[in-house]
């Protein structure tokens, strides 16, 4: 039933939500609504920069646990109110922006660390926990989460799960979807479910992987068991300079058939000459690559020997450990204001992933598409997550402030056009919509282009689990 919201009904709904989560955890204050309307998405930032208010939720609720989330979703379903889940708002794809109003469900009160289990090697926590706090808990018992994205301090466990996040040591330890043993999820109808007791099994499809990456469209992940690891006895770094990207790909592919380094980051010439020069101090022409390898000391010795031999075969110049160590120390510095791109610049990170046979082609195709169609845009890239079978491109476009329209709608149009052009080039050459930032509202329109008829699987899940379509509408192309 369609209905018009009115003051009386709104007040009634508000009292129900207050009853569910406590009055102090339910807000209609301007500051709470504004705060939850701008995430790390460039368009939301630009909109606010131009003095415009982004779409806001009508009510911000902060439940403490799955039971309270369940109550909120039951209320929302009854009144057919949109519910957008918010972790810490550090997402770049606009996934947490309440574009349809309704309820923002902020998860950060669900931040309890329930168990630090050094036998099963996991931490069980609420998904509202900031990941850095999970790292603190692991460190207190001499362990580590080995999930170190630049957003370690500004994103929640749930945020990483919702968008399939990744950290800088992923080549050895995996993505967030490799780091989860078990989850508690509240379905849109309010039912609370648990995924299987172990992540590897033959009891049907993997429930974890259905909800990981679903960006709040299929339910709310409220609790997770996150893997922890022994601290490495030794972590070593080695910087290299390649004269051409092709050699770097060949060398890296071969290396990964032999062992898995923790960090592998290859910067194209443009990024080597800009960010790497500025932060790490490499003032050389070429493509800089940083490799870290770690673990038991004896194995690290062997891995170093293999690394040097393999990379020498492809003409890599060994720059020693200094630049790599500096990179490790400064790995988050890149993302602070003053070092990172920021408004008035327009920018975006179009990460994609593909097998080795395609990844170089995609890089050149995206570069050409952006630079040809948008000559005002600069294209830089690095390759920061590697597998035995392929790699990802972390490619960015940057438009300087003088070329960015002051009018917010015009700026939005340009931003959308560049994104569409870049991602279509990736798709056309065998890439995917995104590697680890997610889809959100930014790329939802391109999901059908990637998946074609396969999209009906996602749509079927959505229709079945969320028949009223209340969960994070207009995200993920659903």
């Amino acid at each position: 039933m369609q209905y018009q919201m009115n003051e009386f009904l709104f007040a009634m709904i508000l009292t129900e939500l207050e009853d569910a989560v406590g009055k102090e955890n339910c807000s209609t204050r301007a500051i709470d609504k504004v705060t939850h309307s701008v995430d790390y998405y460039w368009l939301s930032r630009m909109w606010a920069d131009r003095g415009c208010r982004m779409p806001e939720a009508d009510i911000v609720v902060c439940p403490e646990n799955a039971q309270e989330v369940s109550k909120v979703l039951k209320i929302a379903n009854y009144y057919k109110l949109p519910v957008t889940t918010w972790g810490a708002g550090g997402g770049t794809q606009g996934g947490a922006i309440p574009v349809a109003g309704g309820i923002i469900l902020d998860t950060k009160r669900m931040n309890k660390i329930y168990e630090v289990n050094t036998e099963g090697m996991y931490i069980e926590c609420g998904t509202g926990a900031i990941y850095k706090h999970i790292e603190y808990a692991a460190n207190e018992v001499g362990k580590a989460t080995m999930h170190y994205p630049s957003s370690l301090t500004c994103s929640t466990v749930g945020g990483f799960l919702a968008h399939r996040g990744i950290g800088v040591v992923s080549t050895k330890y995996g993505k967030i979807d490799d780091m989860v043993l078990k989850m508690e999820v509240v379905l849109p109808n309010g039912d609370i479910i648990e995924t299987s007791a172990a992540p590897k099994h033959a009891a049907g499809p993997d429930l974890n992987q259905i909800f990981i990456g679903s960006e709040g469209t299929l339910g709310v992940i409220t609790k997770a068991q996150i893997r922890i690891f022994d601290q490495p006895e030794e972590r070593r770094f080695r910087g290299f300079l390649f004269q051409d990207m092709h050699g770097a790909f060949q060398a890296s592919r071969e290396l990964l058939q032999k062992f898995k380094p923790s960090v592998m980051r290859l910067y194209d010439e443009a990024e080597t000459a800009s960010l790497i020069k500025k932060i790490v101090g490499v003032e050389r022409k070429g493509a800089f690559m940083n490799i870290a390898y770690e673990g038991v000391k004896e194995m690290v010795e062997v891995e170093e020997k293999i690394l040097l031999e393999t990379f020498a075969k492809y003409g890599a110049e060994d720059l020693g450990s200094e630049y790599g160590e500096k990179w490790w120390k400064e790995k988050i510095t890149f993302f602070y204001p003053g070092h990172m791109m920021d408004i008035p610049q327009m920018f975006g990170t179009m990460d994609t992933i593909a097998p080795y046979g395609k990844i170089e082609e995609i890089y050149w195709a995206m570069k050409e598409a952006i630079e040809t169609n948008f000559p005002q845009a600069k294209f830089i890239a690095h390759f920061s997550h590697w597998y035995e079978w392929g790699s990802m491109i972390y490619d960015r476009f940057i438009v300087e402030g003088k070329d960015v329209p002051e009018d917010p709608v015009e700026a939005l149009r340009l931003h959308q056009a560049i994104w569409t052009c870049g991602v279509r080039a990736a798709l056309a050459h065998g890439g995917v919509v995104n590697d680890h930032h997610g889809v959100g509202i930014k790329l939802g329109r391109l999901m059908k282009e990637q998946y074609g008829p396969a999209m009906q699987v996602f749509e079927g899940l959505k229709k079945s689990l969320d028949p009223n379509g209340i969960m994070n509408p207009f995200k993920l192309g659903l």
Partner: protein, 362 residues
């Protein structure tokens, strides 16, 4: 809103930066997105752009404890405390300060303390009277100890007595201006109070400042505001550590395992971290909590508990959790506000004592 260009620059840098999201003691305790440096910056930036009214964000601006954890955490040196305090000043100038804050400001102006107190407990009155004679050294107790935790003030006096220090305590002690600075920033009233205090302190050779909040104000803020103090100003903890070194106190180590709660005013603002540890290690066995020294987590104060008691309680509860999670039995404090806040939490897992308690064995 009228705001300095420097502040605007910091606001516009912080409004879209999430990097210190994990560090705010208030945000971690409440789980509220608004309790982050970026949320405050976003709010102020929208006020500057005419998209929201200043009055609509002031409650949130007063939820910041100005502990500077975010400032310390920022690699590029942006300063959310600076723009938070400037927003408070601007709100006062525009007449949009919340009523509950105005009441505290009025108290500061009328009585010198935000609590509006004019009398202290009998025991402290007697202890102050016993030190009324003018000596070279002044012990400045501060308004929190004097009016809200007089037992602690008495103990602070006792410790110096134990070391046979000759010192004065003033019955009509001047307010340092720290409370006004917190409430309205660098307003004329704040500077006037600070100037008056500096004049009184200048009548002594040495001033021992008991409350780290006052110590920060006198040693750091006065300089920023161009106010000179013609006396040697030392923190209570550094003074007592000196007494220990000089053999004027004879400690017995109980062997008890304790952790020390660094007051941010000492560890971050005045870069004093080891003096208190020297004292603690003379009387007990020191362990370390997560986030210690300059990384310390603020554990509450009395002033903010006047208007957001539930939040201050949650902050203290989280810090107690940090102590219990490493198996600590006792937290030693060096700031009366944190002592009171931590003790206000109903729990039986960990004992909360002050440095004076440790020294006096009470």
């Amino acid at each position: 809103m009228i705001m300095s260009e420097k502040c605007k620059q910091h606001v516009d840098s912080c409004r879209f930066c999430w990097m210190c999201h994990h560090i705010c003691p208030i945000g971690n305790a409440t789980g509220q997105e608004r309790n982050t440096a970026r949320a405050r910056a976003l709010g102020i930036s929208l006020v500057n752009r005419g998209a929201i009214e200043l009055a609509e964000i002031m409650d949130n601006i007063y939820e910041c404890c100005t502990c500077g954890a975010c400032v310390r955490d920022c690699i590029t040196g942006w300063d959310p405390v600076m723009f938070t305090k400037e927003a408070r000043l601007q709100a006062a100038l525009e007449g949009v300060t919340p009523d509950y804050i105005n009441a505290l400001i009025d108290n500061c102006l009328e009585t010198g303390n935000a609590y509006g107190k004019t009398a202290t407990c009998d025991t402290l009155t007697a202890a102050i009277k016993a030190h009324a004679d003018k000596k070279d050294t002044l012990l400045l107790l501060g308004v929190d100890a004097k009016f809200m935790a007089c037992k602690q003030a008495v103990k602070a006096i006792k410790v110096l007595d134990k070391a046979a220090v000759e010192f004065t305590v003033l019955d009509n002690e001047p307010a340092s201006g720290a409370q006004l600075d917190f409430l309205i920033g660098a307003a004329d009233e704040t500077k006037q109070q600070m100037t008056a205090c500096a004049k009184v302190l200048g009548e002594y050779k040495k001033v021992v400042v008991y409350d780290p909040t006052d110590a920060k104000a006198i040693k750091q803020l006065y300089k920023e505001y161009g106010i000179e103090v013609d006396a040697e100003v030392v923190t209570y903890t550094s003074f007592v550590a000196g007494l220990l070194k000089d053999g004027k106190l004879e400690p017995t180590n109980s062997g008890e395992s304790v952790v020390f709660q660094d007051p941010y005013q000492l560890s971050r603002d005045l870069e004093e971290t080891e003096e208190a540890r020297e004292i603690v290690m003379s009387y007990a066995v020191l362990g370390e909590m997560l986030l210690n020294r300059a990384e310390t987590v603020w554990a509450g104060n009395i002033l903010m508990a006047q208007y957001i008691p539930d939040i201050v309680k949650k902050v203290a509860e989280r810090r107690i959790f940090n102590a219990t999670s490493i198996g600590a039995d006792t937290i030693v404090t060096a700031c009366v506000g944190e002592y009171v806040s931590l003790n206000a939490v109903e729990q039986d897992k960990v004992k909360i004592i002050s440095i004076e308690d440790l020294i006096l064995g009470e």
